[in-house]
């Protein structure tokens, strides 16, 4: 059976008390636990998305020697609430020539694709909603809904800019899926499983045990993964689908109000998800730096804090890259993917396999320091 | 407990719909959509029988191969559709009456 949050909590005493409250109906209790945890995660991630817009403005202001938003609330922290209220109260404009069905569907697909990835997100060793055996594979598969949403949003708006942005977005997301998946495959090869629980448990808390420093190939694979992930989330320097200076705003030109908000929210949450996946696969995940048993419940919260902190640091790097590097051209984008990243990723995969055979699966640190 | 026959009924509906789309539509892309439906019906049957009738997973392997073949078929089929459109400037299947040019 797959490890889930319900099967984790059932180890503790208070689970039995809860079961008594529900009259011994395990299915109902499991449903209630899943519901509560899902609501908590969705609320947390929506907050992360909102804070993402705030962080983006503050950090960009910092990099450009400005002050940034500072009027609403302390340090401008409530700016995201003001933005949200503004987006909700805006008029919802439907272009006359738009394909109405697809126009309604596209923002929902973007949001569904991002939120569905959170089902297997490894917050800590026990607090994953569901530790599927095909976790990473599922995440890569379901997040391709976002590419479809970008494409449909661009098509259904029936405008030239949107159409160009949508086509660029779809081709970019399909292309960059290949190096990303190949890099993930190298890690799956090392860990011997596709579940996030397996992959995180193979790494220990200290940096030289992380998969990024396991061998030289995974070190390269991390950068291939990160570059490809940036492109898949349509972040600068790969934000060609919504290139402001060429395409007005790309695929979401015609969207107003909360529909635009859905696209923006999906993008910011997806950046967080991608950072989290990079942390879980390469940077040690939620492991504590000391080697102790984590059956004690409060330690799980410490693990969650470690995980979120690492992901937030990567989030900062993503924003930093956006405000530092200029945008690429379309032909440069495609040649980077097909001529450089994909061959490097294949080389990494083969290299990892050879390393596994040659050194019996030992990491670089184990080879140097012994056991 | 969901019974085997419920899966078979869904698979039959998928198959019949696919055949209807393949016969009734005149657009080449729509015919490819019908083929995808038919292939999915077959793959669903394989997995359902694998769960209810046997202890091994050969049915899963078969449906994986069906998925692979469907992907290859879609790629080649759509390439042919695009080439056809470049020559005839339509994708109406009744226009495909010549073997060359």
């Amino acid at each position: 059976m797959n490890q889930t949050i319900v099967s984790y909590l059932s180890k503790y005493e208070f689970y039995k008390t809860l079961l008594g409250l529900f009259g011994g109906n395990e299915s109902l209790l499991a449903f209630v636990i899943y519901l509560i945890v899902a609501l908590i995660i969705i609320g947390f991630c929506a907050t992360v998305g909102g804070l993402g817009t705030f962080a983006e403005r503050k950090i960009s202001a910092d990099l450009q020697a400005r002050i940034g938003p500072n009027r609403v609330g302390p340090y401008g922290l409530l700016q995201m609430l003001a933005d949200g209220i503004k987006l909700i109260t805006k008029e919802d404009i439907m272009p006359y020539a738009a394909d109405k069905f697809l126009f309604y569907l596209a923002p929902l697909l973007a949001l569904v694709g991002v939120f569905a990835t959170l089902a297997v997100f490894p917050w800590s060793s026990g607090f994953a909603m569901s530790d599927l055996n095909v976790g990473v594979f599922y995440l890569v598969a379901i997040s391709s809904l976002v590419g479809l949403a970008v494409f449909l949003g661009g098509y259904s708006s029936n405008s030239k800019w949107s159409m160009l942005g949508g086509m660029r977005g779809a081709s970019q997301i399909i292309s960059y899926e290949i190096p990303v998946t190949l890099s993930i495959l190298a890690i799956v090869l090392l860990a011997g499983g596709m579940g996030f629980g397996t992959i995180v448990a193979q790494q220990k808390g200290l940096p030289f045990n992380w998969f990024i420093f396991h061998n030289p190939f995974t070190f390269i694979a991390f950068f291939v993964f990160f570059t490809g992930a940036l492109a898949e989330t349509n972040r600068a320097p790969f934000d060609l689908p919504e290139a402001e200076s060429e395409l007005v705003s790309g695929y979401n030109t015609e969207y107003t109000g909360m529909r635009f908000g859905f696209f923006a929210l999906a993008e910011y949450i997806e950046v967080f998800v991608v950072s989290g996946v990079a942390v879980a696969l390469f940077l040690g995940g939620s492991n504590l730096p000391v080697n102790i048993e984590v059956d004690f419940l409060p330690l799980q919260f410490v693990e969650v804090i470690i995980f979120v902190t690492k992901a937030a640091l990567l989030y900062y790097v993503v924003i930093w890259i956006r405000w530092t590097l200029p945008r690429l051209r379309v032909d440069q984008l495609m040649s980077i993917c097909w001529k450089y990243l994909t061959p490097i990723a294949i080389f990494n995969l083969v290299g990892c396999a050879i390393w596994m055979v040659a050194f019996n699966g030992k990491s670089l640190a184990e080879l140097i320091f012994g056991h | 407990m969901v019974s085997l026959s419920s899966y078979l009924i869904i698979s039959m509906i998928l198959f019949v719909t696919g055949i209807t789309v393949m016969i009734g539509r005149k657009s080449l892309v729509a015919i490819l959509l019908g083929v995808e439906l038919v292939m999915n019906a077959a793959a669903l049957n394989f997995v359902a029988y694998s769960r209810y009738m046997t202890d091994n997973l050969d049915g899963h392997v078969f449906s994986l191969f069906i998925i692979v073949i469907a992907a290859a078929e879609a790629a080649v089929g759509l390439a042919i559709v695009i080439r056809f459109f470049q020559i005839k400037e339509t994708i109406h299947v009744d226009e495909a009456t010549q073997l060359r040019n």
């Binding site: 095909v134 391709s144 479809l148 | 969901v2 719909t17 997995v47 209810y52 997973l57 879609a74 994708i91």
Partner: protein, 178 residues
Amino acid sequence: MFVQILFGLSALLTVGCAIALAATKNIMHSCVFLLGTLLGVAGLYATLGADFVATAQIMVYVGGVVILMLFAVMLTGGKDFVSKAQNLLGLAPTMGNKWTYSLAGLVSLVFILTNVKLISSIVKTAPAKTFTNEMPSTVSQLGHLLIKDHVLAFELSSVLLLGALIGAAIIARPKKNQ
């Protein structure tokens, strides 16, 4: 209980989207309904305990085939972008008359009844399988099967994919002298 609910939702999604696919005139909407059908079939795989097949279905179809179809629709959208009155009930007039339809209906009825008879006899005579609600992971078993029992088909499918890749690239490439 979860399995029944998931089965019901997936079946509804599959059948509803399949019928909508056949009924709608707009080919772009047909492609989106195909997406719904495929996601529903993936859900049905999940209720059958086929986790890897379900995920592969989502990966290949949502990420690849549906986007490819949408691209093809956009690249070939011309004067007859909306196909001419070929929905489920208003089939094109040249497709046949009442005699051909009734004959085909009779033949398919006989065919279906024969098949139902055959299948039911197989189901009845098959040894009763010890059936559990447990759904163990299929990933490692599938890996062993693919690399041991079905290795020839596995390699052949990789050759097929390579051939399809090259073939599609060559066919879709515009000729130089045009």
